[in-house]
């Protein structure tokens, strides 16, 4: 039976919890009450709204349509005034009683007003010109009022106060920040760091900061004209923003007889103490004595509650470790854990460079990071947050924790402009990625799906990952899918292969049917599975043609206009006048729009319609060059010792022999090889998936894991051998190891560093695992299974295999009947 779920509070925690419940297909009819008259917006973005870098539309997470589409009854602008836990009903400000089976309290916090004379106005809440900074209405009011005023005072020098001060600069010319404590952000920073921050806020931003400033009175009769401090100082101003802290919204809950201490007391399932059907999440909840004022913990709470309430047992929220990382207009600040050492044994590392405004302090206990404070430079914040969160062992070289020593200095993401393009293939900006993360998508693969960033050539993937981590304030959410071989089957490659073997699954559809809970097929996983099964079963593989990508169905590479390209095999890049003549004739006969030399030393006939492919192959009568598949591609060679005056090895002959043997070998990614006749490297063997370099003395060096595409990497030297035969044998062994162990689309340039060249050498050269013979046998079997796909031309393998899919030529016309 569908149960009635009522949620009080339509803020970030309440709405997120409902989203999580929907994502788990929870069987509830949901009713939400929100005091604010809107859908659900991103409260964090109010700072940006105030600063004028975000619009109102831009900060909405769920508009009213979302509630409608998901069958949620939203009572926006309706306040709950009492909970009757006995009768299981809530009473709202319109006098309506709503019954529930389960109740979630997510009432958040309100802005706390320190005791000051004249701050309230009996008629309108605050005195005219005084604002809190908590809601969209607060922010709107502030912006409207500040528009025709000039001097603002912000009360409160914490995170929120700094953001408010920075935002107000956008609207008024003078901003003064008053802080009651001795230094800014005293909850997160030690005095030294707070002073550095203050110097930058004053020097760089031009905000006047007064510390130890206890505001005692708001001046002005019907509108604000200034504030008065405890020491009698008067500061003239016409706008006052109070950002002195928050207090949880618990009054109504306490009055309803539920347990409230500082917040609403909950257990590890977010259940209100002593209650079976009432839960609380967000800033209003007090869990194991802690209240949280940042969103990251709320996300965790929402997940646990959603799991629990939809029937997953054994889930528990165990608390969150807090860290902050922000930028107050040009000034980086990060803080996590302790702000000062607690024990004598605590190791404290401090770096201080006042001229640049840089201050870094780490507190380490028993080799684990327990606190860190950074001002002026957040380049190491993300990695510190990771160490802090996960408690991982720290490098012995402590200085490497606070500086980038040697190696490439990664561009600071804080410095990166929002409109900077990250994915150059799909045109995705840093801002777009951050937007998706702010919208609640915290996994790298989720962000990639939503934005398509990283889905072109893939080079930007590491950067996308860094940005997701950065935008998430340190670490991306654990993404189980990241370890899966393909997105649609929830298993990493080794487990997947074991299961395929165990159940003798020889077709792609049988893998989905057997190994995916629910048996759902996934279009985007088919190609990877087809490749894997073909590698595992060779001749026994049951080839379902729909599992193939179009290129593999028609043995040619699809082009932007739906035509195809034809690249005949040209082993080692060596051709003959007869072959050239024939290619020329075919190109003329079919009116090929473009004939081009490829990067892989062959000839490409581009712009061929699908339906002409078989006839063209017949006329060419040459084997396929496989320039379309995730497979062994070419072996580039230089002219070597036969002709070159520097050559010390016959690179051409070896290249041809390698290509002859491994032609068409399919794998998780492309395999591009080269053999070069001397270390001058004319065939660019150092940057190939496998590159062979002849060296003096009749020896050959083998490099693996090189790349010179979108990603550039010099291959690692695997070994040096004495003969061409040995090169061929080890090439086969390495390629087979790669085929069996690399993830789908993982090129050797990521695979080799991931496994480590030393480990690969142990397996492929030294055979410490004792699998070399098996690898050799497996690759031999694959080599024997090779068939030239361009022979598949007399009869189409499937009906309409080569029928056009575009209006390039006349399609089968069918009569239209009324």
């Amino acid at each position: 039976m569908t149960q009635k779920l009522v949620v009080i509070g339509n803020g970030m925690a309440g709405a997120r919890t409902v989203e999580e419940i929907l994502a788990r297909n929870g069987d509830y009819s949901v009713t939400m009450f929100g005091d604010e008259p809107y859908g659900n917006y991103n409260r964090i973005m109010l700072s940006n709204l105030l600063a004028g870098v975000e619009t109102e539309e831009g900060i909405f997470l769920n508009d009213l349509g979302w509630y409608r589409d998901n069958g949620i009854t939203l009572n926006a602008g309706v306040k709950i005034e009492r909970i009757d836990a006995e009768a299981k009903v809530v009473h709202d400000s319109n006098g309506v009683a709503t019954p529930y089976d389960k109740l979630i309290i997510a009432t958040g916090s309100y802005s706390w007003t320190p005791p000051m004379k004249n701050v309230h106005n009996p008629k309108r809440g605050y005195h005219q010109g005084v604002f809190a900074f908590r809601t969209l209405d607060d922010t709107r009011g502030m912006i409207r009022y500040a528009r025709d005023h000039e001097r603002a005072v912000v009360i409160g020098g914490g995170l929120l106060g700094l953001e408010a001060a920075r935002g107000l600069q956008n609207h008024v010319s003078q901003v003064t920040l008053l802080h009651a404590m001795g230094h800014l952000m005293d909850r997160q920073l030690d005095p030294k760091a707070g002073q550095m921050l203050q110097a930058s806020v004053e020097g760089k931003l031009g905000i006047r900061v007064i510390t130890n400033a206890m505001t005692t009175e708001i001046l002005g009769k019907d509108r604000v004209t200034g504030v008065k401090l405890a020491d009698g100082t008067v500061i003239d101003c016409d706008v006052v923003v109070i950002a002195a802290g928050i207090r949880p919204n618990t009054e109504m809950v306490a009055n309803s007889g539920l347990p409230v201490e500082r917040g609403i007391v909950v257990d590890d399932q977010m259940r209100v103490e002593g209650q079976t059907d009432i839960y609380s999440v967000g800033e209003c909840a007090q869990h194991r004595g802690s209240l949280y004022g940042l969103v990251a913990p709320l996300w965790d709470q929402a997940k646990v509650l959603a799991d629990h309430i939809t029937g997953t047992t054994g889930v528990a929220y165990t608390g969150s470790k807090l860290h902050t990382k922000l930028k107050v207009a040009g000034i980086d600040v990060a803080s996590m854990g302790l702000i000062a050492p607690e024990h004598d044994e605590d190791e404290v590392i401090v770096y201080n460079e006042p001229k640049k405004g840089i201050y870094k302090q780490l507190i380490i206990r028993e080799d684990v990071l327990v606190g860190a404070t950074l001002v002026g430079d957040n380049s190491k914040a993300a990695s510190l947050i990771q160490h802090f969160d996960r408690g991982t062992a720290l490098p012995e070289e402590r200085s490497s924790l606070i500086f980038d020593i040697g190696g490439a200095v990664e561009e600071s993401l804080d410095e990166m402009a929002d409109d900077a393009q990250v994915c150059n293939c799909n045109g995705v900006s840093k801002g777009a990625i951050c937007g998706v993360v702010a919208g609640g998508c915290g996994t790298v693969s989720g962000v990639m799906d939503k934005t398509r960033a990283g889905k072109g050539c893939g080079t930007c993937k590491p950067l996308v990952q860094r940005i997701v981590e950065w935008a998430n304030g340190g670490a991306a959410e654990e993404d189980p899918a990241a370890s899966w071989y393909v997105p649609g089957v929830p298993m990493p490659k080794p487990e997947l292969m074991a299961a395929i073997r165990k159940y003798q699954l020889k077709s792609v559809s049988s893998v989905f049917d057997k190994l995916v809970p629910g048996g759902e097929h996934d279009a985007k996983s088919k190609m990877g599975l087809a490749s894997l099964l073909k590698m595992m079963w060779a001749d026994e593989y049951v080839d379902e043609r729909d599992a193939r990508f179009i290129n593999d169905r028609v043995h040619a590479n699809i082009q932007r206009d739906g035509t195809f390209s034809v690249v005949p095999q040209m082993k080692g890049g060596v051709t003959t006048p007869a072959q050239l003549r024939k290619i020329a004739e075919v190109a003329e006969k079919y009116g090929v729009p473009m004939v081009k030399l490829t990067g892989g030393q062959r000839i490409d006939l581009l712009g061929v319609p699908k339906e002409q492919l078989p006839a063209m192959w017949a006329d060419l009568d040459m084997p396929s060059g496989y320039a379309y598949a995730k497979s062994f591609r070419t072996v580039k060679t230089c002219v070597g010792s036969d002709f070159c005056r520097f050559g010390v090895g016959d690179s051409t002959a070896l290249g041809i022999a390698i290509e002859e043997r491994f032609q068409g070998l399919e794998g998780p990614g492309k395999m591009k090889l080269a053999v070069t006749g001397c270390p001058r490297n004319c065939a660019e063997a150092y940057v190939k998936d496998l590159g062979v370099v002849a060296i003096d003395g009749g020896k050959w060096e083998i490099y693996v894991g090189g790349a010179a595409g979108a990603h550039i990497r010099k291959g690692d030297l695997l070994t040096t051998v004495d003969s061409a035969e040995e090169v061929i044998r080890l090439t086969g062994r390495f390629l087979q190891y790669y085929r069996e162990n690399a993830n789908w689309l993982e090129r050797t340039y990521s695979f080799v560093p991931r496994v480590g060249i030393d480990r690969i050498r142990e397996i492929v050269i030294d055979d410490v695992d004792g699998i070399a013979a098996a690898l050799d046998a497996a690759v031999e079997e694959a080599v024997q299974a090779y068939k030239d796909p361009w022979k598949e031309r007399a009869e189409p393998v499937t009906p309409g295999q080569f029928r056009t899919s575009l209006p390039l030529t006349v399609l089968p016309q069918v009569p239209v009947r009324s």
Partner: protein, 101 residues
């Protein structure tokens, strides 16, 4: 679509693949899902004109072969912010593919 159009035998489309048909002035891609049902959608990708019938499918989406954006075959909605594609009613009648209500 009030008109009924017979496009040809079901056996023209291999299981799990799609083929394009010209119907009047429209180009329509018909897919034969592995669950046995048919789907009919506009044949030309709204992104940059890719041939959708050459795309890979499962029981719910088609993935365009050019830039791998995907669309729901039943609703025509994009899963990645692209404009939607048209969907048409289609069924099998006596071994023939019939387009229309």
């Amino acid at each position: 679509m009030k008109t009924l159009t017979t496009l040809g035998p079901l056996s023209d489309i291999p299981l799990g693949e799609g083929r394009t048909y010209a119907v009047g002035d429209d180009m329509i891609a018909i897919f034969r899902l592995r669950d046995g049902s048919l789907r009919a959608v506009s044949a030309v990708c709204p992104h940059k004109g890719g041939p959708l019938a050459d795309g890979q499918i499962d029981n719910s989406v088609v993935v365009c072969p050019l830039h791998l954006f995907s669309w729901d075959l039943s609703t025509g909605c994009s899963q990645s912010g692209q404009p939607p594609i048209n969907v048409y009613p289609v069924r099998v009648d006596d071994g023939q593919i019939v387009l229309g209500e």
